[in-house]
């Protein structure tokens, strides 16, 4: 295995494009090193992105959004009070990943590119309307986060392409987001169902909403019917009931040791209700 420490994303992309064997990018390493050790993946070229300028920074963009480097860890996101104030749902999703030790290294982009349908940080990013910058041999482009996952363990990235940054849009006024997951215990487990809700209020009524489910389909899924169920409402009981039904109806889960199809389908509705209430309260100014 060759270990590379390129100084730019263009150089990283060029290394990957020219490589003839198995290539992996390394940021936090909490998935790559596990796969390496288990023999699931034996890269010929390992490209460490941490020597590239800016990969550890979080900065406000000119329009009031956020630009987050690809090696920023979950713990660093959680320690950024201004970011947490803007996008609590995005940060709480990432902070659910792994232990204290894993939080010290694990990254948003790693969680995304690992391709798990149960990735805890991805629904929140999709609900927020986050984009990633994809750098490849023919330049860079912005891609919505939701277009990256392509199935369990798979991404839409092509050979020679690397994600070089995450952009969160400006939070704006009267907005709130939240992420909840179900696991059979309180810590250190993989989501059986995850749900993120991001919404904006006009007075007491919901003007915009996005509802996103994780772990109930081969990829994260956006559920426009669930958003429709609450837009124009004050999140009254009837709206919450419609939201739950729409969320459950969108589920195409698997049966496994963590949960059955019926259980996951039902819990998706329950989590959608609860996450919507938290997002609504946050949009109203709750901490």
């Amino acid at each position: 295995m060759r270990y590379h420490t390129p100084a730019t994303f263009e150089a990283a992309a060029a290394l990957a494009a020219e490589a003839s064997g198995v290539t992996r990018f390394l940021a936090g390493g909490t998935d790559v090193l596990v796969q390496l050790r288990a023999g699931m993946v034996t890269p010929d070229d390992l490209i460490d992105l941490k020597k590239i300028d800016g990969v550890k920074t979080m900065a406000r963009t000119k329009d009031g959004g956020w630009q987050i480097g690809v090696a920023v860890s979950g713990a660093e996101l959680g320690a950024n009070a201004a970011l947490v104030a803007d996008w609590p749902g995005v940060v709480e999703g990432m902070e659910l990943v792994g232990s204290t030790q894993v939080q010290g290294r694990a990254t948003l982009v790693g969680n995304l590119c690992n391709g798990s349908p149960a990735a805890d940080s991805v629904p929140g990013l999709v609900a927020a309307g986050a984009t990633v910058t994809v750098t490849g041999p023919s330049g860079s482009r912005e891609v919505p986060v939701g277009e990256i996952p392509a199935g369990p363990g798979k991404t839409a990235l092509k050979k020679g392409e690397v994600i070089s940054g995450v952009t969160l849009p400006p939070r704006g006024k009267n907005g709130g987001d939240a992420y909840l997951r179900f696991i059979p215990r309180t810590e250190m487990d993989i989501a059986v169902v995850g749900c993120a809700v991001n919404l904006r209020l006009d007075g007491d009524k919901i003007a915009e909403a996005r509802v996103v489910l994780g772990a109930v389909a081969p990829t994260v899924i956006v559920v426009p019917e669930a958003a429709k169920a609450i837009i124009g409402t004050t999140l009254d009981d009837a709206a919450l009931e419609k939201l739950a039904q729409a969320a459950s109806a969108a589920c195409k889960p698997i049966d496994d040791k963590r949960g059955t199809v019926a259980f996951r389908t039902d819990v998706a509705g329950v989590l959608a209700r609860r996450a919507a209430k938290i997002a609504y309260d946050r949009a109203k100014g709750a901490k």
């Binding site: 390493g29 090193l33 288990a38 460490d48 232990s99 204290t100 030790q101 010290g104 810590e187």
Partner: protein, 159 residues
Amino acid sequence: MSKIHVTTKVNGDDVEFLADPRESLLDCLRDKLDLTGAKEGCGTGDCGACSVSLDGTLVCSCLVLGVEAQGKTIETVEGMAQDGDLHPLQRKFIEHAALQCGFCTPGILVAAKNLLERNPDPTETEIRYWLAGNLCRCTGYDKIVRAVQDAAAEMRGAA
């Protein structure tokens, strides 16, 4: 396979070693630097027995490559005792019998020290969540939590 020359600082000492890029920091600490305090339990970041501090951040050294340690500052359990005196956490672990087989203990001591550096007065819940990635199959955790609380109290009093 060409090896890479790594220079790093461990427990205040400048050290260097040659690492195959596939080798974990844990293997480098144990096999090249003879620092066998950090243990390999799972090798996949689940158990925390290999916990070390890397530039002040608590990490599983099995999930860090040795070559990534270049230019960093690492602290392991071997650096906790000063001039032959045990760290308060180490003394309190003995007093409270917060270990039985001891395999998880170096990782838990390093993790607890990292917690107390950030939060000198953690609640029981904060301690339990912070140490959720450090598995112990002997003690049931209760004595560990008491030992950390007692050490924290002593360290606050001494400060």
